[in-house]
């Protein structure tokens, strides 16, 4: 597949697609690279859309994944503002919105995910927002004047990040969460409790165990969010942030195996050997968790899968498995986590819950996940401990005076020395 004549087509110019194009060139691929994005602007980073970019601290050009000249210098044929409508596997070609076909030798689907919609709600309503593109953020920013009152439907990372940004801009913010605590599906209770206290202390109103029954309008404009228990929250805008759904339509239409995302193997390869799916759109086995199949929405996962898929396409040595990682910034709190706490049998707290601590999740005496609040050292050491799969001592691991990195035993792998 490394001949000068071969062509790799990438659908989606987000973090995953751009990373794949980059790794193809850095891996020595000399064939053609076609990178299709459905937005008009240069590929950009999405994480700041709910943080610094929402607050207006940085501009769109600060979000660029690569400079404009990069695509030219690297001979990456970047086609912006183009939707791909269909994959024809027999022809090994994709059909663009303008009806033309592009053949591929290898296809990489990197179409990402989109925000889950609130059920039974009309989508077009003035004052109702979702956050996925820079245009969404620009619209939302206009709605965040100091006299605004914004309701965040969903107490997950995006809801909380937007709440923190809204407070920084002087707006009122109310978070409505279905579960009995924030981040219920994605963080441990100590982390939820800490962040809840932190947000409340900074003026964010938090309502848990609450489901939204209706969005009330006046003249087509959102005025109130009404809960199932009858409570009503007057607002000038609302953001629905209740998770993401994969953009796997192209894969499903083409008959690729899908189940809540396009199913892929350890290299990102789909049920069609010529086609790969990477990033948010894919559902993949996780090697550190007994190959449990999972869909991850994170920058780290997008980059890792891009690297794996490119190595497979180029027939190069498979890169080492990475422990999944994630971060979120809210106010001045820096949250970072590594691994996933699947079937953990116990949880250890390192440090006090006041401003700097870590939560360790163990299974069979091994670290499988770590969440850190303002503790980058524990995050990096924890990630390496998870990768080492070594048995650790509870007492030492829970003692914040013992550096976590000192628990990493000296193996043969030099990377394990921290």
């Amino acid at each position: 597949m490394t001949s000068n004549m071969s062509r790799v087509v990438i659908i989606g110019a987000g973090q995953a697609g751009v990373s794949a194009a980059t790794f193809l060139r850095s891996g020595g691929f000399r064939g053609q690279i076609l990178l299709f994005g459905d937005e008009q602007v240069l590929p950009y980073q999405r994480p700041p859309l709910s943080k610094a970019f929402l607050k207006g601290e940085i501009g769109l050009e600060d979000l660029w994944l690569k400079s404009a000249t990069f695509y030219v210098e690297q001979n990456i044929d970047l086609r912006l503002g183009i939707r791909v409508e269909e994959i024809d596997r027999k022809k090994a070609a994709i059909r663009l919105a303008n009806g033309t076909w592009q053949a591929y030798d290898n296809l990489i689907i990197a179409t990402g995910s989109r925000p889950r919609a609130l059920p039974d709600v009309q989508e077009e309503m003035e004052g109702l927002h979702q956050l996925r593109s820079y245009e969404d953020t620009r619209r939302l920013r206009k709605a965040l004047s100091p006299d605004a009152h914004i309701v965040l439907v969903g107490g997950g990372y995006i809801g909380l990040e937007v709440a923190a940004s809204a407070r920084a801009l002087g707006a009122r913010a109310t978070v409505i969460e279905l579960e009995d605590r924030l981040l219920a599906r994605v963080a441990s209770r100590p982390v939820s409790n800490f962040l809840e206290g932190y947000h409340r202390a900074r003026g964010v109103e938090i309502i848990t165990c609450a489901s939204v029954a209706a969005l009330e309008t006046d003249g087509g404009r959102l005025t109130n969010v009404r809960l199932a228990d009858g409570r009503r929250f007057q607002c000038t805008a609302a953001v629905v942030a209740i998770g993401g759904v994969p953009n796997d339509q192209l894969g499903r239409m083409a008959g690729l195996s899908c189940d809540g995302g396009i199913l892929v193997d350890h290299n990102g390869r789909t049920s069609d050997p010529a086609i790969f799916a990477i990033g948010d759109v894919s559902r993949r086995p996780l090697p550190f968790y007994g190959d449990r199949v999972h869909r991850l929405e994170s920058v780290g996962n997008a980059v890792e899968q891009a690297r794996l898929a490119v190595a497979a396409i180029l027939g190069q040595e498979r890169p080492e498995d990475e422990v999944h990682w994630f971060w979120s910034d809210q106010f001045d709190v820096k949250f970072k986590s590594a691994g996933v706490a699947f079937d953990a049998d116990r949880q250890l707290l390192r440090g006090s819950s006041e401003g700097r601590f870590s939560v360790l999740h163990l299974k069979d005496d091994r670290l499988i996940s770590i969440e850190t609040i303002n503790n980058a050292g524990d995050f990096v050491a924890g990630r390496k401990l998870i990768a080492s799969r070594q048995v650790i001592d509870d007492t030492l691991a829970a003692d914040a005076d013992v550096p976590l990195k000192s628990l990493i035993s000296l193996g043969n792998d030099r990377k394990l020395y921290v």
Binding site: L63, K334, K405
Partner: protein, 106 residues
């Protein structure tokens, strides 16, 4: 206050380039602007991934790294006393010349 200074960049492939740049919110933003694309900075400048590791020499004092940046730097194999994370470094207005060498990949 925006100030211009001389930015001398040694890229990972060894090529060098010197340009006058207007100061920006972070050294990372400056490096992106001048097309230093081998820096992944996958966390988007949030001090979470350490992929924007650079070595920095300046003709004047630079602000000291804060605790998060120090902790990330300490975990790097290629750390030296000149190590900084480009996303965390705001170039002080007094600097007129800054040499930045992109660190090897970890």
């Amino acid at each position: 206050m925006t100030t211009a200074f001389q930015l001398h960049v040694v890229r990972r492939d060894g090529t060098t380039r010197e340009t006058e740049v207007e100061n920006a919110a972070s050294l990372l933003a400056l490096l992106r602007r001048v097309g230093v694309d081998e820096i992944v900075a996958m966390c988007g400048g949030n001090c979470a991934c350490a992929t924007c590791h650079v070595y920095v020499e300046a003709d004047g004092p630079l602000s000291e790294p804060e605790v998060e940046e120090r902790e990330m730097l300490e975990t790097l194999l290629h750390q030296t006393p000149a190590s900084r994370l480009a996303c965390q470094l705001m170039v002080d207005p007094g600097i007129t010349r800054l040499k930045v060498t992109v660190a090897p990949e970890e």
